[in-house]
Symmetry: C2
Subunit: 187 residues, 2 copies
């Protein structure tokens, strides 16, 4: 395939993802109709679904994109830094509110759940690798199993996503994240 | 009003709330249609909406009922115990998944948000009172402001609700809650 065409495809794909992200953030998962997706991407349904099989595929592609970005930060600076970034720019993470809408489907639709879990594995792996490294450096507390520390950070992340989604990301959350960071550190 | 009639009203009200709780847990907030509410409560729409103005009012009444029960546990045993109870009997808290569905409305509908916040104030007040008491007894850490500790516990609670709603309340969460409890305690 000639290079110009590959570039074109990548640009189109990214145009669709950007539009879909805004669309999900504004209207929610259920509310993001094909018509609204056409409006926010500026493309026809034919073009959109040429690149992505269906709305689920679009959604999982966005989740994958986010997980990749978050994993990069988590690998270098830790999951708490991922959370600080979310707190600093909640508007970029608005679309994550749709994660909450899909909670029911995660519980009841095994195929969808598998797709979702594959996408979040990257972030889990990056966080775990960093925790292991910090532990080896003697900077992580060693009186609690690493998987519990991971589960703890993950639970706080879920709480933060819920908070941002409901527009309740209040002032003292920065202090809360200091406390979270300190409580996994070696005393 | 004669006593028998008051008893009857209270019983009817509680029958409606129990049915509505099951209905929300099973079908979600949007999915809980009037027809389904009739089925799960075993009452006509006329009877249901004689007691509760609309679906929002039903929802907020359930939230109020839960907040009251949780506040009682929080006042005596703390918010972490509330979370341990949720973890031990996740099926009773399934309906809380609807809290996630309504996140968008909390963000965009001020009247609904006010109603919701009034209902959760009781739990916040009970948790705060216990934290202050523990602090006075010297059992709470005093190097972090109490409102940050409260915000921290609240954030973990939000995470736990999200986790239960998506059916991902995994084994190591009990260890995670030990860590949470320890991190607010005086060393």
């Amino acid at each position: 395939m000639p290079k110009v065409s590959e570039d074109h495809l990548a640009a189109r794909r990214s145009q669709i993802l950007d539009g879909a992200r805004r669309c999900f953030a504004e209207y929610g998962y259920e509310g993001a109709t094909v018509r609204l997706l056409e409006e926010t991407t500026g493309l026809s349904r034919g073009a959109i679904f040429h690149h992505f099989r269906d709305k689920d595929a679009l959604f999982l592609a966005l989740a994958h994109e986010d997980a990749g970005r978050m994993a990069e930060v988590a690998a270098n600076q830790g999951l708490v830094q991922v959370m600080r970034d979310m707190l600093a720019r909640p508007e970029e993470f608005d679309w994550l509110g749709t994660r909450l809408e899909i909670a029911r489907r995660l519980r009841t639709d095994p195929e969808f759940r598998d797709g979702w879990e594959q996408r979040s594995e990257e972030l889990t792996a990056a966080t775990l690798a960093r925790l292991e490294r910090r532990k080896a450096e003697g900077r992580l507390r060693d009186d609690v199993p690493t998987d519990v520390l991971l589960g703890y950070l993950d639970l706080v992340l879920d709480g933060l996503i819920a908070r941002i989604a409901s527009g309740h990301a209040s002032d003292n959350l920065s202090g809360v994240l200091d406390l979270v960071e300190e409580s996994v550190r070696r005393k």
